[in-house]
Each structure stands twice: as structure tokens, then as C-alpha cells.
């Protein structure tokens, strides 16, 4: 899966934190879905989060762009703290891009319109410029020829690549991926992972919830294991896969690496 870019001695890592999560708790009613999360993400760092379903990993990253609210603790993204302040939330959302498991492209707009929507309406960019940016990113994810089509006419893998391009058009500082390949047919997973790897190589800060361990091994700086709402264990990919510390981690790894 390409060269390992996650050496611990990688000096290109910036040292300042871009995401800080401090003692964060979240409940769904009485259900304590996230229990005391402490996490710091540095600029250009790439983290892969794995864990059984129901462990709270999707909820965790959805809290980072406030698609979910936390009840206790603090979340600070690029210096902006996430509270009920709607202005701050909107600012954070323009800096954080998200790619969903089910793509969520807008079916009534063409591909180009999907991508240009954010720049036009949020960053107030003229239409021609927005479309230029759109075409640039479409080329980047190798799908420029589908520009005038509608999402319904594309395959799953193509749609997900468009979804990645759509987030990139907003020039985010952080990219969140919520199980980006789980809804894809096996033969399309690679095309999406390749795009994600290219993104990584360009230095994007990425948090990826995924079970694609090959991807984790080749690109991640950190692999975190979550279970029952807590971060059980986290380490460099090499350490994580070769020397898992906790029983639960070992159990999980044995289940998914067959």
C-alpha cells in the first residue's frame, strides 16, 4: 500500500494542536455514549479510529463539527470552542470537511453544482471561480469527465470521490471521514482509498473512522481503538497492530484481521 509515511521520526509534523477534546462526555438520553474523551490532534496529523459498532466512534467525530452536541467537557477546533454559539459553529464547519458513509450528494444538482454550492453561498465566491475550483478538485479525484452528470448516474465509488472533492472545495483544514468505504462494493473501495492516500500525502489533517487496516498501516500516525464510549488504546500503527496492550483490543483485532 505504498510507502510508509507514518514513521514516528517524521519531522514534518507541526507541533501545534488543531483539535483539542478535553474530558468530553456525551449522553443520548440516559445512554452514556462518550465517556471522558481526551484527544489532541496536531496539524497534519492523521488518525484512524476503529472499534466495534456502538462504541461511539462516529459520534465522536460528529461532535467535532457539531452534528452532535456534547454535554460536558470542551471541544476546541482551530482555536474556536464549540458551544451553543451558532456563529462559531458555522465558522468551524467551514474549516472542517466531512465525508459520509452514504455520500449524501445532492441529487437534484449536477456534480459541478454540488461542488460549487459551498463556495458560492458560504464563501461568496463568483460562480465562474467556484466552478473553476470545482473542476480543479474533480480532476484531483480523477472524475472530471462526469462534471455535468447527476449523482444518480454515478457508481458508489464515483459518488464518494465526488463527495470528497465537494468537501475539499471549501479548503478545509481538517477532513473527517465517517466509514467512507463501508457502503461501497468491494471493487470500488480501492479507488476511494487511493484518493484518500493522495490527500494524506499532501499533508491534510485527517480523522478517519474505518476498518480499512491497510490504509491505517500505510498512512496513519495514530490508530485509536474505541469501545463502550472510551478510547481504550492508541498507538502508532506498527505498535498498535503488533503489540496491542488490552484484551479488548486484541479481541477486536483478531475479529477483523482474518
Amino acid at each position: 500500500m505504498g510507502t510508509k509515511t507514518s514513521e514516528k521520526a517524521d519531522n514534518s509534523l507541526a507541533n501545534d494542536a488543531i483539535i483539542e477534546i478535553i474530558e468530553m462526555h456525551k449522553w443520548f438520553g440516559d445512554f452514556h455514549v462518550l465517556q471522558g474523551i481526551d484527544l489532541t490532534v496536531r496539524k497534519q496529523e492523521r488518525i484512524v479510529i476503529c472499534g466495534p459498532s456502538g462504541s461511539g466512534k462516529s459520534t465522536l467525530i460528529r461532535c467535532i463539527n457539531r452534528l452532535e452536541e456534547h454535554q460536558r467537557g470542551r471541544i476546541i477546533v482551530d482555536g474556536i470552542e464549540l458551544t451553543d454559539n451558532i456563529k462559531n459553529i458555522e465558522k468551524v464547519r467551514t474549516e472542517v470537511g466531512m465525508v459520509f458513509q452514504h455520500f449524501n450528494l445532492f441529487p437534484h444538482l449536477t456534480i459541478v453544482e454540488n461542488l460549487a454550492l459551498g463556495p458560492i453561498w458560504v464563501r461568496k465566491v463568483p460562480k465562474a471561480e467556484a466552478e473553476e475550483t470545482a473542476m480543479f478538485y474533480l480532476e484531483k479525484v480523477h472524475i472530471a469527465e462526469q462534471a455535468r452528470k447527476y449523482p444518480g448516474q454515478l457508481s458508489g465509488g464515483q459518488q464518494q470521490r465526488v463527495a470528497i472533492a465537494r468537501s475539499l472545495c471549501m479548503n478545509p483544514k481538517i477532513m473527517l471521514f465517517d466509514e467512507p468505504t463501508s457502503a461501497l462494493d468491494p471493487e470500488m473501495i480501492k479507488e476511494v482509498l487511493d484518493v484518500m492516500i493522495e490527500l494524506a500525502q499532501e499533508g491534510m489533517t485527517m480523522i478517519v473512522v474505518s476498518h480499512e487496516m491497510g490504509f491505517a498501516r500505510s498512512v496513519a500516525h495514530q490508530v485509536l481503538f474505541m469501545d463502550f464510549g472510551k478510547i481504550v488504546e492508541g498507538n502508532t500503527p506498527q505498535e498498535f497492530f503488533e503489540n496491542p496492550q488490552h484484551e479488548r483490543t486484541k479481541l477486536f483485532l483478531s475479529q477483523i484481521l482474518h
Partner: protein, 398 residues
């Protein structure tokens, strides 16, 4: 061992097939049979009818339309008297039906949308009350609701002498609803013209704003400015016309009010009944439409950084309208068809007038045929519209 099945089923390749086993010929035979049966039935009914009509000395044909109607009609949009022809009486009926349907449709869409959105509100109280409304008004027959409202007017509202007055200048009595209206003044014409001019300018404003945004990226508050224009221009026209403020105020004179604008109890009861009933169904249509847009769409839109209003306008509404419009037009058609119940509470809609004509001339077949044709016209045009809309708005897929 494959044997030929029944010898009477030769293979097509042979070319010579028994007449009654050839599927094409069989289908023709079958259709001829069906047509013959229908034809026979039709012949039977028609011959009976002709015999009966002769025996009862009932006229046929539409000549009666030229005869004098000899009955009064309670309310009419155009001038009418008992000396007018049946044709004119029927026209009055059609106009009345269109009037109550048109106003009913507008009010129903507004009320229904409102309740549908309320049903989805995160406020428990609002959403429950909307749900109760929908359930109650859907489950009670519309005719019963009409009777109830009609009785409300005639039994529960007082006579004009003791009129109820919820606001100044508005009076509710058992003779109907009467409220003050501005006395007619030429300035009103200027206001109408100004409003039309406002509509035209809003249209061009939107186009200009769209072009400007495409070129420079700057958004223009089109909505607010449009509302401003539509309010300001007529206001200016009113001032230019001399700011007339005289109102025709209803004043109680002996038995009833004079002046102002009077809406009969029949019309009010019919309109109210139709609107309250149909709005319950429209609310469900709107709710289903909004819910049909998956949660992920909203989340994706929010995560690009779009504001609430933008999410609604750019993503949710276009998608939900596709799902809402077809069943909505069905409900509009239902309202129009249900307006035929006016005959039960004395509002002179088309069915009511045609019914009177049938009674007087005995020409039931022509009368019923006319009723059906008029409503058929409404429904076929609505179907055509819906088909056109569906084709135009279909999401492009593989």
C-alpha cells in the same frame, strides 16, 4: 424423453396454426367479444331509456338551456335573475364552484403547509396538537363537518341585533359574516397597477440579483427587498391618490347590516368546512414530503457550512417539493370535487344549480352528464398538469 405436448398445439414454425390457438387472433376474438358484450349492454340500457323517456314525456337534448330558468339563485358573481336562461343559471353555478374552490385551495395550501410543518416541530406541544388536528379532521366525514359548521352559523350565532364582534368592524351573525371594507376610490386602481408593477420589478430584480451573484459572489437580500417593493409601491400609489381612508362600515339597520362586505353563512360554512378537512390531508402530504429528504442531506449541507435558511432553500425544499406536488394536486382536486357537497347546505354551486334544473325539466340524463363533464374537465386538466410536472422534475438517474 421430451414428447410433443397435446397434438393440438403445433409449433409456430409450421406456419399453419389453428385459428383459435393463435394468440393474436385469440386476442382479437376476445376483444370483439368484450366489445360486443359492452355494446349489447349499452344497447339494452339505451333502448330502455328511450322508451321510458317517451313514456314519461320527458324532452331530450339540450334545448332546455335556452328556456327561462324560473328560479332564484342565492348568491352569484355575475348578475342573474329568474328570468334568465338555464344556460346562464348553470354558468352562475360553475362560477360559484370555481370561486369556492379557488379560495379554498389557496387557504388549504397555507393552512396545510403550516400544520404539516408544525407536525414536525421539535416542540412537543406544537407537534402533538398538530397530530390531533390531523387525526380528528381526517376521520370525520366532510359532510358532517359542513353540517356542523352550518348549524353553528344558524343556531349558535346571534341575530344581527346582538351580533358578535370579535374585532371592530367585523360582525358575525346568523346572516353571515360582514366586515368593513374600504369604500371604492380611484386610488385603489392605482394601487392595483402599482402592485402589478411591483410584481414585474421583483421578477427583474431576481434576475439581476442572480446575475450579480454569479459574477461577483455577493448575495443580495432579494426576499426582503421584494417584500419591501410589494408593500411600498402600492402604499405610494395610495398616498398619491389622496390617501383615501373612507370605509364602508356595516351599520345595523332594523333587521340586518347595511354596507360593508357580506359573506353568506352558506359560503362561509362551505369554505371553512372544505379548508379544515382538506388541510388535514395536505398536512400529511407536506410532512411526508419533508421527511422524504434523508437526514444525511441536511447533515451534508450543514457540514459544508451552509446556514439553516440556506439548507432549507437550496437542499431541503427543492427535494421535498418534488414529492409534495403530485399528491398535493390530488388533494386540490378532491377539494374541488367535495365542493359539490354544497348542495347539502344550500350554497348554489354547479351541482346544486344543475340539480334544480334537473328537477324542473326532468331531463336527468342531460343534467347528470353535464355535471360529470364539468368535473371531468377539472380532473383531466389536473392529471395532465401532474404528468407534465412529474416528467419535468424527475431526478435524473441511470
Amino acid at each position: 424423453m421430451m414428447k410433443e405436448t397435446a397434438a393440438a398445439a403445433p409449433s409456430p414454425a409450421s406456419g399453419k396454426v389453428a385459428f383459435w390457438y393463435d394468440p393474436r387472433k385469440r386476442s382479437i376474438l376476445y376483444q370483439l367479444g368484450v366489445l360486443a358484450m359492452v355494446g349489447l349492454l349499452g344497447y339494452y340500457l339505451v333502448s330502455n331509456t328511450i322508451a321510458n323517456l317517451e313514456r314519461q314525456a320527458i324532452a331530450t337534448g339540450f334545448g332546455f338551456l335556452e328556456k327561462e330558468a324560473a328560479f332564484e339563485i342565492g348568491e352569484s358573481l355575475i348578475s342573474y335573475s329568474a328570468a334568465d336562461k338555464y344556460a346562464r343559471a348553470l354558468l352562475v353555478g360553475v362560477l360559484n364552484t370555481l370561486l369556492v374552490s379557488f379560495i379554498g385551495i389557496i387557504l388549504t395550501v397555507i393552512l396545510g403547509t403550516f400544520i404539516g410543518i408544525a407536525r414536525l416541530s421539535t416542540n412537543w406541544l406544537v407537534s402533538r396538537l398538530a397530530a390531533v388536528y390531523i387525526e380528528v379532521f381526517q376521520d370525520i366525514p366532510v359532510l358532517l363537518q359542513l353540517f356542523f359548521l352550518y348549524a353553528f352559523f344558524y343556531e349558535m350565532l346571534p341575530s344581527p341585533r346582538q351580533a358578535l364582534s370579535p374585532f371592530t368592524g367585523v360582525f358575525l351573525t346568523n346572516r353571515g359574516l360582514v366586515f368593513a371594507v374600504p369604500e371604492f376610490h380611484p386610488a385603489h386602481i392605482y394601487m392595483g397597477v402599482a402592485f402589478l408593477a411591483g410584481c414585474v420589478s421583483v421578477f427583474f430584480l431576481r434576475r439581476w440579483a442572480r446575475k450579480r451573484q454569479a459574477k461577483t459572489g455577493m448575495a443580495f437580500p432579494v426576499f426582503r427587498v421584494s417584500v419591501g417593493i410589494l408593500v411600498l409601491l402600492p402604499l405610494l400609489a395610495w398616498m398619491a391618490g389622496g390617501s383615501p381612508t373612507t370605509m364602508s362600515v356595516p351599520v345595523l339597520k332594523v333587521f340586518n347590516f347595511q354596507g360593508g362586505f357580506n359573506v353568506s353563512p352558506e359560503f362561509t360554512a362551505l369554505l371553512l368546512g372544505l379548508v379544515l378537512y382538506t388541510a388535514a390531508f395536505v398536512a400529511e402530504v407536506v410532512r411526508a414530503g419533508i421527511q422524504s429528504v434523508s437526514k444525511g442531506q441536511r447533515e451534508a449541507a450543514m457540514s459544508i457550512g451552509l446556514k439553516q435558511g440556506q439548507v432549507l432553500n437550496l437542499i431541503i425544499l427543492p427535494q421535498s417539493l418534488r414529492v409534495i406536488i403530485p399528491p398535493l394536486t390530488s388533494q386540490m382536486l378532491n377539494l374541488t370535487k367535495n365542493s359539490s357537497l354544497a348542495v347539502a347546505i344550500g350554497y348554489p354551486d354547479f351541482v346544486s344549480v344543475a340539480g334544480t334544473a334537473i328537477n324542473q325539466t326532468g331531463q336527468a340524463i342531460e343534467g347528470v352528464a353535464m355535471i360529470m363533464l364539468v368535473y371531468l374537465f377539472f380532473s383531466l386538466s389536473t392529471s395532465a398538469f401532474m404528468n407534465w410536472y412529474n416528467k419535468k422534475m424527475a431526478l435524473v438517474e441511470r
